[in-house]
């Protein structure tokens, strides 16, 4: 995993869950929450869990305001771009609008090689159901954020109704996107309730729902 991973994707694609899963599993020390699009289902609520795993959370500057839906961005959000000791995951807001937030950091981003921008895709989200839709949303994202996408994540799921066949359905579509844009599928996340021995494209990871446990 690169030093900095930025997770993008449509809202409801599962970015925040994946951000938390990766942060815990991959010895990440900083999670930057800059989701101003849908601040309700964000990882901030999980601050304690993350802190227990040695992950510091950079979020709103309003102290002690859990449940706040004020989308302020912390000045600390730029630190991982500057401080090379930090291994960070950025949780962007949904759609291309989330990437707009990255623009304010443009002057701080020097080492592009250290940054992955991964797009999380769930083909059961109606706005990212087809190859064409996904490609268009990636182009918009790159345009708005002025940054190149470097990989894809297959997170196709219907929560606890997910089956192995569904994940393969998602893989078929996302693989076409990957081929057309010459991008790798970096991870496939498998809902923890799905029992399967199949190896899907990219690194396979079991998805433990931390965010949903708090919210749904």
């Amino acid at each position: 995993m690169k030093r900095i991973t930025i997770l993008a994707g449509h809202y409801g694609s599962g970015k925040s869950e994946i951000a938390v899963n990766l942060a815990i599993e991959e010895s990440i020390n900083t999670l930057v929450d800059i989701d101003i699009v849908n601040p309700y289902f964000r990882s901030r609520a999980l601050r304690k869990l993350l802190n227990d795993h040695g992950v510091q959370v950079i979020e709103s500057t309003i102290e002690n305001s859990t449940g706040s839906d004020l989308p302020f961005i912390s000045a600390k959000g730029s630190h991982p771009f500057i401080n090379k000791d930090l291994r960070a995951i950025y949780d962007l807001g949904g759609t291309e609008l989330g990437a707009k937030v990255l623009m304010q950091y443009r002057d701080f981003i020097q080492d592009r090689e250290a940054i992955d921008l991964l797009v999380v895709i769930n083909v059961f989200r109606p706005e990212t159901a087809t190859v064409e839709q996904i490609i268009e949303s990636i182009k918009k994202l790159e345009d708005t954020g002025q940054i190149k996408v470097t990989g894809l994540i297959n997170n196709t799921n219907l929560m606890d109704e997910t089956t192995e066949v569904m994940i393969l359905q998602g893989e078929a579509i996302i693989a076409q996107v990957a081929e057309q844009l010459s991008l790798p599928i970096r991870y496939t996340f498998i809902e923890e309730t799905v029992k399967t021995k199949t190896h899907f494209m990219g690194e396979n990871k079991s998805l433990i729902r931390h965010v949903a446990k708090h919210w749904l």
């Binding site: 500057t61 004020l70 989308p71 912390s74 609008l97 937030v101 990255l102 304010q104 443009r106």
Partner: protein, 254 residues
């Protein structure tokens, strides 16, 4: 070695850290308003009215009595306060969504009644708090989360120039548009605030200072780029200057 104190923070602000995003000019404007209140000796007898928007929590920041108003209603709340406390200083602090959209009626009628209050109006051409939607002040072609293809005047009209509009109202006493994009303009902005509170102290009626402000996060720009955009794109459409001055110069004892 002896040290000499050359600067200290204004007493007009509390110790609370401001909640604004990096590069946002709310911080500068807060400081200017607070400094003027302190310098004019008004702090201990001022009631501020917070609005809804990014500055919704400014009752935590201003070091004076504060009341939090429903969305757009700050000038009405201020009217209510001022009428029963005519000798106190009353100001509202509102953004462009709050003042120029949902609260347009209240600001127009407060000016119309020449309500003796001061309105601090912060115009950054976008809804910041709710995530960058189009505001009535959003420029033509400006992309926002609800004008993804850029604001189109055919479907959404032209941006509203509030200072110019209020200048047509006889009751408005002092209206000035300022900017805080560089030190020189910050100094000029402070003078405007001084004038506005001065108008109120002399019971001369309604005063409003409009600030050209920025929103790096929702504009999708670095703080420096956003200041440049304010200068290059906003100020040409929203020219700086005094739009109304119905006070009589020299007649200080009035």
């Amino acid at each position: 070695m002896k040290t000499k104190r050359v600067y200290e923070p204004t007493k007009g602000l509390t110790e609370r850290a401001l909640s604004y995003c990096p590069g946002c000019t709310h911080g500068i404007i807060h400081k200017l308003v607070a400094e003027v209140l302190e310098e004019q000796g008004l702090l201990g007898e001022t009631i501020g009215v917070a609005s809804v928007g990014c500055s919704v929590m400014n009752y935590e920041f201003f070091n004076c009595d504060m009341q939090q108003a429903p969305h757009g209603r700050a000038p009405a709340v201020a009217t209510g306060i001022k009428r029963v406390k005519p000798d106190k200083t009353v100001f509202t602090y509102q953004g462009d969504g709050d003042l120029a959209s949902i609260g347009m009626a209240e600001v127009v009628h407060s000016a119309h009644r020449s309500e003796n209050i001061t309105v601090i109006f912060v115009n950054n051409a976008i809804y910041g708090m709710t995530g960058g939607q189009m505001a009535p002040t959003t420029l033509i072609g400006q992309k926002t989360s609800t004008s993804p293809e850029g604001r189109n005047q055919l479907t959404t009209g032209l941006p509203i120039r509030v200072s110019e509009m209020l200048a047509t109202i006889p009751g408005a006493t002092y209206l000035e548009r300022v900017s805080v994009h560089d030190p020189k303009h910050v100094r000029l902005a402070k003078k405007a605030i001084q004038k506005a509170f001065d108008v109120q102290t002399k019971k001369q009626g309604f005063s409003m200072i409009e600030f050209i402000s920025t929103c790096p996060v929702n504009w999708g720009m670095t703080p420096t780029d956003s200041l440049a955009w304010a200068v290059d794109s906003m100020i040409p459409y929203y020219p700086l200057g005094v739009y109304k001055d119905a006070t009589k110069p020299g007649d200080d004892d009035a």
